[in-house]
Amino acid sequence: MKKRGGLLAAPYTVWMALFTVIPMLLVVYFAFTGEDGRFTFGNFSQLLGYGAVFGRSFWLAALATVVCLAVGYPLAYAMSRETGAVRNTAMLLLMLPMWINILLRTYAWMSILENKGLLNQLLSFLRLPPVRIINTPAAVALGMVYNYLPFMVLPILTVIQKIDGSVIEAAQDLGGSQFTVFKRVILPLSLPGVLSGVTMVFVPGVSTFIISQLLGGGKSMMLGDLIEMQFLGSTYNPYLGSAISLVMMVIVLISMAVMNRFGEGEEEVMVL
């Protein structure tokens, strides 16, 4: 039994080895190598200069995660209350944007948010003052929320749907008000979904790159942009790029570990 399971996993094991483990080892190797090919810690000492970029990336990713949660949880809860056509339509509307390439979606946001874009045309039509949001960190956060919202809603929805109806009925039978039932039963039971939603928004959020270039005007540089710049951008330094990637991964792992402590005692936590 055990052997057969191993065999079935073989394609994925090979895949993992080729495309996850080996690249990771290469990243580690490059991070500790200088341009002369020798072992060095120099790349990491250079990193100190990029504290602002690290700070901005984690701050914006956290902000986007909080907004996604604030918007996504009520939506997921509402969707779980619905049945049939309504839920299916909501699901379709949620998924629809994901069928469009992320670049196109972000370009669309660019033409909406620009100073003379659709939003400001609408505002001036309504005789309201224009907003200057394009090329600010706020625009980047908005772009991230838009792109990652489904990743917050879907896991929460799945978990809420799976809550045993009899548990809720029991709480109601015992005299719990609607609010108490939600607070004492549904919310705690949906935490695993929240946790995977947070993970699935926060982790890609930290390493976002193209959104910040298009909506941030290349001024609110994020870690993803900094890394891209070292490999394919206007400066070529894969050693520094690897060091940044490595440190970013470590920080993300630590934040996830901290997150998981909150969810201790819950089952099926990380969906990565």
Binding site: L18, Y50, G217, K219, S234
Partner: protein, 358 residues
Amino acid sequence: MKKNVIILIAALLLLAGCQSATPAQGTQTDNAQSGGGTQVSGDVYVFNWGEYMDEELNNAFGEATGIQVHYSTYQNNEMLYSTLMGGGSNYDVIIPSDYMISRMIEEDMLLTLDFANIPNFANIDADLKNPAYDPENLYSVPYAWGTVGIIYDTARVSEPVDSWGALFDERYSGEILMFDNPRDAFGIALKLLGHSFNTTNEAELRGAYDLMVTQKPLVQGYVMDQIFDKMENGEAILAPYYAGDAITMMETNEDLAFVFPKEGTNIFVDAFCIPKGAANKTAAEKYIDYMCSYEAGLANIDFTGYSTPLIDVYESLDDEVKNDGISYPEDMTGFETFTNLPGWVNDLYAELWTDLRK
């Protein structure tokens, strides 16, 4: 266990197969063609600047020769360099600028061309042959040349623009776009401070960096190809850019004008080269030759708005174009080319540029 090994080997073979069949990265369009009847066939992988070629020509070339063109684009010289250095790419034709060509020659990244396969080279303006970046003209065939200046919205500037200083003017805060590549961006600050583009004086470069740090709060964004939409739609008032693209933008938005700043500016040549590792050198040379033909040259200049190195194309242009003062400026005093810089200066550029943008 044995089976695992077999699967691993199969996967590796598959992977190797994929790698030789696909180019590395970038946006790409394939122009599938059925074979013509000539001796050279196969595929040619072309890597060019964005918005820098009439891509219909790739189809036409494919139909005429049976060579399938795979076309992809990059945004600036440094990106091209990084892509080639990163390895795994298999481009046959690239179009770097002068200073990048000399860097690539120095770093042994280019193949010498067989000019017997490029008879249309005879059509290149003699002034552009044996250039400083390729003194013996072994590696490159000019594709287009051009200049840099300021494109601005005449309706929204407070006074006539004639200096790079306008890009550092607080009155235009939030309405200024800047180049998203270090050499062009630093060049502007260097010229404004009265230095050469090719300075190797660290203090001068750091001075230019300081100036750009003070400019950053005024800058709306650092852009390359996105500039077309932004200037055409009036998103920004001022931007430095290449003359040929400025002409394209001015055709769409009549409020736009273009000026060569009085402090002097950059004149550049972009030329076809074949990088080491090119799989189909003969086809690449055939492609270069085709692009130097009269018809292709005319179509490209018409599409890009840049200045042609081809004598017969230039001669066939209307006087209106020849004398528009932008494509073929008469007075070129103060125009300076970029030359390749020593390694430590390139490193300093990379460091300061990352610091500026972080």
